[in-house]
Each structure stands twice: as structure tokens, then as C-alpha cells.
Assembly symmetry: C2
Homo-oligomer: 618 residues x 2
């Protein structure tokens, strides 16, 4: 059999296996797999360099299915490569199988979870960036994109950034099968509409017939030979190719075939081709950066410093201490102070411009290769990347995010720039850690701690300079808290973090003058949360607690405290102070007062609780 | 004075006023305003059609500052138009002033809030779409974009969609001043990089010197004469133009000028030019669609129907009943069942393809003109648009969102498609309403109710068919709940909604057989929440409550219940059942069981609470 015929046969096997995989649960996306089968057959048989026995091999190429719903095709590739058995292939989508509906890194040969369209290419950008600029290894990154997902702006962020960073190790293959989930795409089979856009963004673009294995082979070779820019292969394909009942027809997206036996026969029957996938030529080790002694910045108690500034200084120090730490920012590094890292470690800093989705996706891609990424922007603008953060958790990614300019305390810029939902958003991410330091020393310690965390960590920082209240040698554990004021006869507990911690301290002073003992808890770790300390405080104060946060009332510090105390059957009387009206511009102090989250508001809430208790006990 | 000299003078006035506005609070973005001053001077003096006395005039053009930080320029325009006084201009960014740091619709001549970059053009698309396809009026939509924000993928979603919908009433002006917040943009002054991209996306593109008023004038005329496609004017400008101390220099973004008096002198001093802005030529009334009698679908109690299907059927019925209702979907209308509306009312349905950011932005744009938009996609994919939803609240927009395929109960598709953070995300939106119906009749009633709501409303729907438990004539108020099971001796309350309500009912049956009275509360309105009914239930059961939700534990139903009961000092013992591990693929029932949110898990939790109470009382 000629090489070309062999590839064609392999393509048919991938189709057959895609159809077979979808049988057991009568679900999945075989037709979306069949369109791209020839594209992937040629890749697997000739162009991919991958050691399936050593998925951690630094020289391996990377293959990202941006169209994650074509998972039957991906799993069929793994079978053809001998990585999964035919029996396992047939467990597709069943409870307990690692072959889920959409790929996740539970599977050793999958780098990132996909299935939210428009994300695979941005992730692939991150991996390719690692290859060029950090690992400095010749591996290639291949990504299979759907035509429907080209409508996602995030794809064009990836096009923009990959061209800007001249990532000639990145190849995108667009499977233009014309049909989306519910009908034709915007551009149908107009290949040039995609190629023209890609060229305008600085890519090399090749249009081909995606079922012609010779054209596919030539295109991949051309991509590998193209320097200084990434290549996109725009391939005209047919959805459901090879099975007349579904081929190029609407209404068969995400559906198992009605008559799989007939389809398999039409495709020439089951095959058992086994490919010896070429191994990486290079056994080279990835580049590494010097690792030194970690020397965190130290701030004098009583001085004032913004936690965002401490973030930048600590991150730069961490970068000196650890060669695996890298940083990204969304064109606001002079506000988040990521610029301090950028100046200290320019080789490990990547400007993401105003493209928060690409920034988070790049972080996910970088950690695929073992780098420890810290990505920063305003807290408000992480909302832009929430789908990417959500999917990063499905990817079991370890990334560190920092959002500055949280809350109304930013002042004059107004509500568009105020992060007021970030705590809720980040708490509701699986495996997340959510930190909100109040002073510079605490920030520095927590920045260092997050580098070792698994999962998605988030640190909220404050624009304004705030007093340093902790000694530089104080330790802060993830999941801990600090009782920063207490007495033997506390009548009320105030739970605060970040900017409101300082308001809480002022309030406690005022209350002390009135003879009211107020315990102040610095809840710098919102998730995990120190339930024990909260329970003790509730015990001591008869359940009287004021929570205060520069955030909407929903999903933030107050509700986190309530959830930690949900089983306290001795009773609670909690006042949740939070931002309840849409803020405006103004001075920070004016806005904290208007929102009812300043020291005066805390004092009043505490007085109400104590008075109510006194009334009851009378 | 020649017309051209007059425009130049007006441009200088706008610069001077931008500098003056920033003086009071020593903050704001005068340099970003100065680059675009000539572009806006020519627009105001000649091309804009706007009746400042009647901002609600349907024939008015619309001007959206996508670069919202250039607010001093916008307010200077309002002053030149006689809409705000010089005194008010100087209140810029002060507490109590409507001239906030970034524009919001508190100001009558502002349609949408901007300040999160990359959003103004997508909003403008929505307004232009309304003009072409709904209002059918000749107004034009102008939007001033920054060059930095062209890195946001959402801008390219707008480019894509505006070309697809052939919106020749839309003109984007890109103020290419070369400098972002922290340094040079990706493309500097390479005007063609923007123009080539825009042309590849199907726009007419014109490159000009943005300080040459004759070129500006010609470009706007050319834009107005261009048919079948939108026009982008790519203008080379100088940041801080006219003041040597800051002109084309880094480090002056978002800063008031150090020496405003000298800058004003350099710009030729204060002026008081007052422009009679041309009024709309058309006094035509907007097109309207027939409004008939609302006849909601009715479902038989005991039958089974998916709430997503009921959403689609109710929305189609609502469209027949109200001519102002329009719908959008992100290329999943055969899953969300928005397709039922699309088929019934094709003139009022807009396919947004897989571009959730643009979908929400389009909804915001459509409601600017009084239309009532319903936008749908999978619950999981609204995370993609969170920044747009957040900003829609700042825009005081009235939009209805519906997220289908919530939770693990979707089954085989796996976690990438499961909305598990949508309740937290949507609760943490100012002014939001969050609904989660459990059956088809309830869904239909709530769909009808949301059309009249102010703010952002969100309805979560379920993939699977669920039993119809309510009579079609039952009423459901926003902010209400239903006690669907209760007895005189309830020992525990189960609070559920949507898919888990049915598990709760099964659990209550099992508990009843064991002699344990369980009150079941259908908390279909998570926000606003029916605190009264929850308090009564806590009272009746000694505070023993099981909450159960197909959602992460953070920020969802359970925490909403706790927040509603935060002041219950008689004690609570709440068990929060929620999804705590990353789900996989599997059958819906397998996944509900694995997550510990099915009937069995509820029964066990209830037993634990009752047993603990019995142990205490012994």
C-alpha cells in the first residue's frame, strides 16, 4: 500500500472508531470527528513527534483539540497510536471512564481541557510561547480548530499574539466543515474568509482540501518550514464525511449515528492499524533560569504601602528565588506593579496587552510545561476571562492570578474599574484558593506561598497605600486567619480583610473607648477558610459578628463566613456590611462611607448587635 | 473664520476643557482625550445628528465612547453642545457629580457605560442592529475606539458581526495614538495593521491623519456614503496632542497634567464655542411589530418537559404577545430552544454565532432603543461574557439572560459544558434577578414576568425533562418561593430549586415513610429571595435545613439561604449539599449521586440533622 493509501486507510479507521465510540452512550460528536479524520491521520502518521510512553518528555510535540467535541477522533488517534486499547475506546462517555465527553488532562496525553470553544488555540499559544521563549526546545504545537469557534474573539486574540511573538512553532488547522451545531456557519466553505483574516493578522495561511492527504501533507511540511510566523491550514472538509446518511447534512451535530453498523460498513469496516508515532528527535533538556535564595521584601510596621506594590516587589523577589516563576500582565503592569518583575526578569515576562482571555489561557499553556505563571490585571477585568478560569480548573492547571484595584476604595475611576464580584467569581472555581491580604508583609508572604499551590489561586490587592500592621517575620498559612484584636470580654467579632481590615481596626478602637470589646479577625484566606477561628469567635461573642467587605454582598466574605458557621446551632446574629448600591466616582473615603463599609458603619453595626443582645438579656 | 479653522478651534477647546476637567481631582485621562479632540470636533460640528434637548428622540444618532477613559473629551463635547455647563464640567470625578470617571447612562446623552475596554464597539453593534433591523430608522451609530483596546477579541467579534449584518449605519473611529497605559501598543502607528484586519473582516477602511480636519471630514462623508458594510476610520493621532510636556510621551496615561495653566496657555487658552448640533432629519417613528394577546404554553401536571424547552415555547408565546420582545442566541438555539422563537418571529431573532460577549453586548445595545432582549446560551458559557454582564449593570441595562444545561445533570458531555458557577456569578451582579425554575409551567410564568423586570435577569434551565409539578394557573412572583410539601410537625426543611427540587420531593417521600416530616421549599427565586418563608421554615424545624443545589457550594443557593437567615439568633444547623468534586461524564443520575445531591444524599443529610437534634434533646 502506498503511503498515501495508508493515510487514507488510517483516516477511515479514525472515522469508524469515532462512530463506534459513540455507540455505547448513544452520544458524542462523531460527525465533527469524521470531517477532521484525514487531517489528523496525516499528522499522526507523519508529522507529529510524540513519545506516548513518555508524555512528560520535554521534546514532545503538543496536540490541542480546540474543537474539543471531536473527542472521539482524539481517542481514536490514541488507539491508533497504541496508547489506549480498543476496549477502553468503547468506554467513551461512560461513568468512570477517563475518556470523557470532552478531553481533560486526566488523560496523560492531553495537556488542557477543551470543550468551551475558542479556548484551545489560546492555550496552544501559551504552550508554543513556552517552547520558544522559556524551554527553548524545537517541539511544535498543533491545534485542531473548528470553523464555528472562529466566531469567538478569543481566537483572534490568539492570532494576534502568536503573530506578535513570531511563534513559527505553532500550527493551527481549521476544519472548515461548514456546519455548526444548529446550521451553517457565517462563512460556510469560504476558505479565503479565514485565510484573509489570518494573513491580515500576520500568519502564513494555506488553503487545502482537507480530505486530500497529499495536500494535507504538503501543508504541514510548509508549516514546519515557515519561519518567523505561525501557520494556519484552512481545510475544506465535509461534516460526517464518508457516511451518506449524515454527510454534509444539518441536524447531526452532537449525535451518535442512528445506524452505526451500516455506517461502519460504508466506511469499509473496522480496522486495526497501529501507528508507530515518530519520537521527538531532540532529547535536549529545557532551558532553565537561575534559581537563587528567596529574599522577600520587608516593610516596616507603621509605614504605608499598597498591597499591589508589595505584590510586584514580592513577585520580583520570587522570580529571583525561583527560576520557574514567570509573569504576564494585561497592559496594566504599571498599575498592578507586575512591571517590577518585568524589569527584573525581562526574559520571563510576557506582555499580553489588553487581552485578558489570552492572558489566562497563556498562563494555562505555560504551566503545561511546568512553568509557574503569575498573571495580573485589575480585579474587575478578570471577569473578562471567567470562562478561561473555569476551564483552567477543568484542566487541573496550577496558575496564580492577581487582581488589583479591588472595590470602591479605588476612588475616582468609578464602577467600571472596581472589582466588586471577584471574590464571588473566584470562590466559585473548583480547587481555587482566594486570598485578600491587608498589608504589604502579608502580601509578600502569601505571594511566595501561592507559587507552590495546586489549582487556581487568586490574590486580591488594593490600590491605596494601607498601613503595615504585621511584622515582616510573621507567618501566614493558606487557610489561616489572624485574630488581630481580642480581649477576654469580646461582645462582638468583626471579620474583615484587605482594605476593610483597617476600617475594622479603627472601629474596634472606637468601640473600645465605649467599653465594647470587639474581636477583629483578619480573614486574609477566604478559601480555604479558617472555620475554627470563626467558630471560636462566635462562641466568645454569643454569635454576634459583623462582616465587612468592599464587594457586593453576594458570594464574598460575608457569605463565606456564614457557610463556615452553617452548623452553629447556638445561634448567630451576623450583620453583612457590603456594597449594596452602584458606586460612583469620589474619594476613597467618601465611597467607603457611602457604601456603609467604613469604620463608622462597622461601629454602628456592632452597637446594634450589642444593644439587641442587651435588650434580650434584660 | 473658515469652517476648517472653526473645527480646529473647537478641537483646541475640547483639549483645553479636557485639561481643565482633570484639575479638580487631579485625576482622569486628559492625554487620551487630546488625541481624539479633532476627530470629535468635526463629528460634533458637522456630522452628528442629535437633539440634546430630546435624548429620547428616536431619530438621534448614537455616539459611544468605546475608549471610555476619554470621558473628559465626551463631557467637553457635551459642554460645547450646550448640554452641560462649564461649572458642571469642572465637577468631573467628584463625589455626587454625574460626570464620573468613565461615562454611564446616569447622563441622559450616554447610552451605555464604558470603561472596560473592548466593549463600546460591541454595544454600538447592538444599537446599529436595532437601527437597521428593528427601528428601521436612518440614524447612524458612531463609536470612538482606542488603539489599545483593539487587542480585545470582543472588538473582532463586533467587526465580524457588523460585517455579517451589513451595518452600513455603523462607523468606528480608531484613535491610533500609539501609546497604551504602560507603553507602546502592539502596532504603534502602523495604521494599515488595523485597516487590513478590518478589510479582511469585511469592513470599509479609511486611514487618515487624525489631526487634519479636512481628512476627517472627508472620511466621515465617505463612511456615510458607504453602503452594505460598516466603515472604520483609522486615524493617526498624537497622545497629549498640543502640549509639549506630555505630547507623544510615555508615562502620562491616566494622569492630570502637572501644570494645567501652562498647558491651557499653550493650547491658546479657554474658549467658549457653542455648537448648534444638527438635529435628526427624520422625525420618523420607529418600526413596531404587532402586539397580541399573551397566551403562554400550558403543561399538564404529571407530564415531563425540560425547562429549557418551556423557555423556548414561552419566549415564542411572549414574542407573539409583545412586539418589543427580541431574542438572540449563541449558535445553540436547538439546545436552548430559542429556535422556537426564531421560527415564530424571524424578524426579531438574531443569530450571534459562538460569540457570547457580542451576544450580551448586542442585547445591551438593543435595549438602548427600548427593545426587550432575551439572550440564551449554555449556562456555562455565560462565564465568557461576565465582564459584559457586569458592565450591563453599570449601564443600568434591562436584559434577560437564560442559561441552559446547568449542572452535572446534563450528563455525558462532561464538566466543560456544565454550568456550575452561574448562580454565584449572576447573584454577584448589581440589580440582578436570579431565577431557577423546576418545571415547565413555572418556567413559562417566569419568562413572562422577566420581560418587565429592571436590570439584569437570569434564568437557569435544565437539560433533562423533569416532571410538571405545578398547575398551569399557578402564579409565581419574583422574589417568592413555594412551600411544596409541609406538615404540622416538620422536623427538617429541604430548600431546593430546579433539578434538585425533584430530588427533594423524592427525599421527602422517603423521609415521610420513616415518619420524618420534611418541609420542601422550592426556592425558584434566588435573588430576590423569600427570606420570610425561609425564616418560618427555620422556626418550624428548629433551624434544621438541608439546602441542595446542582452548583458549586460557593455563592449559590445554599449561601443565599444562609444570608437570608444571617440574623437568626435562635440557631441554625444547615447542611449545604452541592457539587464539591470535579464532575466527569456519566448518566445524569450517576452524576447527581456522585455529587451527593440526589434524593439519597438529601435523605441522609436530613437524617443526620434529625438525629443530632434528638441526641441533644435527650
Amino acid at each position: 500500500m502506498s503511503e498515501h493509501d495508508f493515510w487514507r486507510e488510517l483516516g477511515q479507521q479514525l472515522r469508524v472508531d469515532s462512530v463506534r465510540a459513540a455507540v455505547a452512550t448513544k452520544s458524542g460528536h462523531p460527525t465533527s470527528s469524521m470531517s477532521a479524520a484525514d487531517l489528523m491521520a496525516v499528522l499522526l502518521a507523519k508529522h507529529l513527534r510524540y513519545d506516548f510512553d513518555r508524555p512528560e518528555h520535554p521534546g514532545n510535540d503538543h496536540l490541542v483539540f480546540s474543537k474539543g467535541h471531536a473527542s472521539p477522533l482524539l481517542y481514536a488517534l490514541f488507539k491508533a497510536a497504541g496508547a489506549v486499547t480498543d476496549d477502553e475506546l468503547l468506554t467513551f462517555r461512560q461513568f468512570g471512564s477517563r475518556l470523557e465527553g470532552h478531553p481533560t488532562p486526566i488523560i496523560p496525553w492531553v495537556d488542557v481541557a477543551t470543550g468551551s470553544l475558542g479556548q484551545g488555540l489560546p492555550f496552544a499559544f501559551g504552550v508554543a510561547l513556552a517552547g520558544k521563549r522559556l524551554d527553548r526546545l524545537p517541539y511544535r504545537v498543533w491545534t485542531l480548530c473548528g470553523d464555528s469557534e472562529m466566531a469567538e474573539g478569543s481566537m483572534w486574540e490568539a492570532f494576534e499574539h502568536a503573530a506578535y511573538y513570531e511563534l513559527d512553532n505553532l500550527t493551527a488547522v481549521i476544519d472548515v466543515n461548514r456546519l455548526g451545531q444548529r446550521g451553517e456557519t457565517m462563512h460556510g466553505w469560504d476558505l479565503d474568509s479565514y485565510a484573509d483574516r489570518a494573513r491580515a493578522f500576520g500568519w502564513h495561511a494555506i488553503t487545502i482540501d482537507g480530505h486530500d492527504v497529499e495536500q494535507i501533507d504538503r501543508a504541514y511540511s510548509e508549516a514546519a518550514e515557515t519561519t518567523d510566523r505561525p501557520t494556519v491550514v484552512v481545510a475544506k472538509t465535509v461534516k460526517g464525511k464518508g457516511v451518506k446518511a449524515v454527510q454534509d447534512k444539518e441536524g447531526f451535530h452532537g449525535k451518535a449515528l442512528d445506524d452505526p453498523a451500516e455506517a461502519i460498513e460504508e466506511l469499509g469496516g473496522k480496522r486495526n492499524i497501529r501507528i508507530e508515532v515518530a519520537r521527538p528527535e531532540s532529547d535536549g533538556r529545557p532551558h532553565s533560569f537561575p534559581t537563587g535564595k528567596l529574599k522577600l521584601p520587608r516593610y516596616e510596621v507603621g509605614s504605608e504601602e499598597a498591597t499591589r506594590k508589595a505584590y510586584g516587589e514580592a513577585l520580583a523577589a520570587l522570580g529571583a528565588g525561583r527560576g520557574d516563576v514567570v509573569a504576564l500582565d494585561g497592559e496594566v503592569s504599571n498599575s498592578t506593579f507586575a512591571e517590577i518583575f518585568a524589569k527584573a526578569h525581562p526574559d520571563r515576562y510576557f506582555e499580553m496587552y489588553i487581552a485578558e482571555q489570552q492572558m489566562v489561557a497563556a498562563a494555562v499553556g505555560l504551566q503545561v510545561r511546568g512553568w509557574v505563571p503569575f498573571a495580573s490585571t485589575f480585579a474587575a477585568f478578570f471577569t473578562r476571562a471567567y470562562d478561561f478560569i473555569r476551564m483552567a480548573a477543568v484542566s487541573r492547571a496550577d496558575i496564580c492570578l492577581s487582581g488589583s484595584h479591588a472595590g470602591v476604595s479605588i476612588g475616582e475611576d468609578g464602577p467600571s474599574q472596581m472589582g466588586l464580584e471577584d471574590l464571588a467569581m473566584m470562590r466559585a472555581v473548583h480547587s481555587s484558593t482566594v486570598l485578600y491580604p491587608c498589608d504589604a508583609n502579608q502580601t509578600a508572604k502569601l505571594v511566595a506561598a501561592t507559587a507552590d499551590l495546586e489549582g487556581i489561586s487568586y490574590m486580591r490587592t488594593t490600590r491605596a497605600a494601607t498601613p503595615v500592621v504585621y511584622d515582616p517575620d510573621e507567618d501566614f498559612s493558606i487557610g489561616g486567619s489572624k485574630v488581630i484584636r481580642s480581649s477576654d470580654d469580646d461582645e462582638v467579632a468583626i471579620v474583615a480583610a484587605g482594605i476593610t481590615l483597617h476600617e475594622a481596626l479603627k472601629a474596634a478602637d472606637t468601640l473600645a473607648e465605649e467599653g465594647v470589646g470587639a474581636r477583629v479577625i483578619d480573614l486574609y484566606s477566604l478559601k480555604p477558610i479558617d472555620a475554627e477561628t470563626l467558630r471560636t469567635a462566635a462562641e466568645a461573642t454569643g454569635g454576634r459578628i459583623v462582616t465587612v467587605e468592599d464587594h457586593w454582598p453576594e458570594g464574598g466574605l460575608g457569605e463565606a463566613v456564614l457557610a463556615a458557621l452553617a452548623d452553629r446551632d447556638e445561634g448567630l446574629r451576623v450583620e453583612l456590611l457590603a456594597v449594596r448600591e452602584m458606586p460612583t466616582s469620589g474619594k476613597p473615603a467618601e465611597l467607603l462611607a457611602a457604601a456603609g463599609i467604613d469604620a463608622d458603619a462597622i461601629v454602628e453595626a456592632a452597637r446594634r448587635l450589642v444593644a439587641a443582645a442587651a435588650a434580650v438579656s434584660k
